[in-house]
């Protein structure tokens, strides 16, 4: 049976990226070596990492004064690297959920943190509006997409101080005005590759303003100076990232994928909004086009486990909601075809027909 992969991350990747990775694991472009066994200092790997950077630059229109880094440790390590490198006195954070809260917790180890707004009062079901960003903050940190709650900041905000964004779960889903940001980071394992590599897009002039000593590996300058090759990078994950970005470029880039993503989201949100049984958890104007969270209406609450089983039997994978929200979550990242969304919608309608 065909599987429809709605996993929240690691998640679906383009078939061609997986097929090409599998080939390169056995033999990289006829070299007689594997992408996992060539030297990271070889000309072959150098070409891979340079092309990957070039694809980032082209797809997101990243200006020349920004560096693109590929690191290890996940976005969670960035939660402490950001304040280690940038927080001298005070940082401002927007609290939009679990991941934002984790970032805030780390920042507090390094200085004063002002949380400008939080949606914790309604279980993070919306993106706060009308907050003031203190102009004396070293930076302002946002989490653009909140995987667990299905909310998203879908526009590039104007910010009077350095804007830092965790874009783990919506990077490459839409065009981004990079110039508005000082630093963008994220784990690759949603739209840009497999788990094991972290991307950082950084404007170098935001660095050098803190007085503390920074351990070498936690210092962005280290990785900028060495082009992400200070130590051995996660070569295999970078290869799959390149293949994923080549696929994205091939289908038309971020403008095109944004159209497709909007269509997929619309299809699913419409089905939810027109359902007797299901209801969305995020406020409409805060809805994510990457993670669609919904639950059963009160009258059908006891049917949740049954629907999960029903959907599983129809090939749906990964639609159980995070325990913080409950119900269901369909992650509809770049590589998920609209046919999979349609299959889920059909499955929801069929279940409703049988049970409502």
């Amino acid at each position: 049976m065909k599987k429809h992969n709605f996993n929240a991350g690691p998640c679906i990747l383009p078939d061609v990226a997986l097929e090409n990775t599998a080939k390169a694991v056995v033999d990289l472009d006829g070299t007689g070596l594997s992408v996992l066994t060539i030297s990271h200092r070889s000309k072959e790997f150098d070409a891979i990492i340079e092309e990957t950077k070039a694809l980032w630059r082209e797809l997101l229109n990243i200006p020349e004064n920004y560096h693109i880094l590929f690191l290890g440790g996940g976005a969670s390590l960035q939660f402490c690297m950001v304040p280690y490198n940038l927080l001298q006195k005070k940082a401002a954070y927007l609290d939009t959920g679990t991941w934002a809260s984790k970032a805030i917790k780390e920042a507090k180890l390094f200085g004063e943190v002002e949380v400008v707004a939080s949606s914790s009062d309604k279980n993070y079901s919306y993106i706060p509006k009308g907050f003031n960003i203190p102009t004396d903050a070293d930076y302002f940190h946002i989490t653009t997409n909140n995987t667990i709650y299905g909310t998203e900041i879908k526009e590039d905000i104007d910010c009077p101080v350095t804007l830092v964004a965790d874009m783990s779960s919506d990077i490459m889903s839409r065009p981004v005005d990079i110039k508005k940001y000082g630093l963008i980071y994220g784990g690759a394992q949603k739209n840009v590759g497999p788990a094991g590599v972290t991307f950082v897009i950084i404007r170098e002039d935001i660095l050098g303003k803190v007085e503390r000593q920074i351990p070498t590996m936690l210092n962005y300058k280290t990785h900028i100076d060495k082009g992400s090759m200070f130590n051995t990078p996660p070569c295999g994950a970078i290869y799959t990232m390149r293949e994923t970005l080549k696929w994205l470029k091939g289908i038309g880039g971020v403008e095109k994928i944004n159209e497709l993503n909007k269509k997929k989201a619309e299809l699913l949100y419409n089905a939810i909004d027109n359902s007797k049984m299901f209801v969305g958890t995020a406020e409409k104007d805060s809805r994510s086009i990457m993670n669609v969270c919904f639950v059963m209406k009160p009258d059908y609450k006891e049917k949740e486990a049954e629907f999960l089983e029903f959907a599983k039997n129809a090939g749906m994978v990964g639609i159980k909601g995070h325990r913080s929200v409950g119900g269901f979550r369909a992650s509809i990242y770049n590589a998920l075809p609209i046919e999979s969304v349609q299959a889920l919608v059909d499955c929801m309608k069929e279940f409703e027909k049988q049970n409502a």
Copy 2:
């Protein structure tokens, strides 16, 4: 032409590990999903990571009071994680080369560092002996194998304080008396897998003795408490690690591989010692069985580039020495068959016949 992969890392891995990885990248055990696209919280991935830990425990006979962690960031990140977690007042380090020096540099950010001995006087061509480990040190740090210089501490030393070892390049090459160590770490990309995953073997009671606050991701306790699943682990790299360890178990484990490694090293060192043209750079009693470093004797120095080309044409990959030593380095890790060592020896003899 068959390639003989003498890369220093990333390096040769068992063919079966690569083949199985390639299959799992396309379809993991008939799940219809890829090892790169299943959830790290799925029962399938849970089984993979648990089996990987069990293989570590079995192969190295790791006692129950030690945890086995799989992290990101490389051994270089451990250079700061070790002192962050363990250095309250003073740490002792043995300086055996570039990597040891890098570890020392990071430790100095956290407290007093006593370098008990160094072989920098002879370009790190030997392992210092007869040094005193201060009993008031929080720990003593060693680098068991020095990839660049071809030296190795081949026995588990007795240590009056917590012993911490970077075993990046000789882990699993020989039996280790784990009980003598408080913490062992390393990048996987030599004997145990591809780049992108870092192993840590740690006895929990060495923790909790420093007063500083430790960022969450840099705190070993975080990863112990969550079984390396605090955040998304490098799933693909862990899969290849499991396949590599299964291969090692299949051929007879670390005792068997140690025999084979010794034979490979003996074959190559004998060829060097019996050569008119080549000479080893490491002192004999300090020689590594993983990285064999050698140069041309003074009379033939100008032939080095020519030999590199000659060897390359015979299928030898990665035998150029590190710039710190020059000449040649053959990395003969676990997965390298003795046939490749024989091919290199034949190549050296042929070159000598033609040129000496």
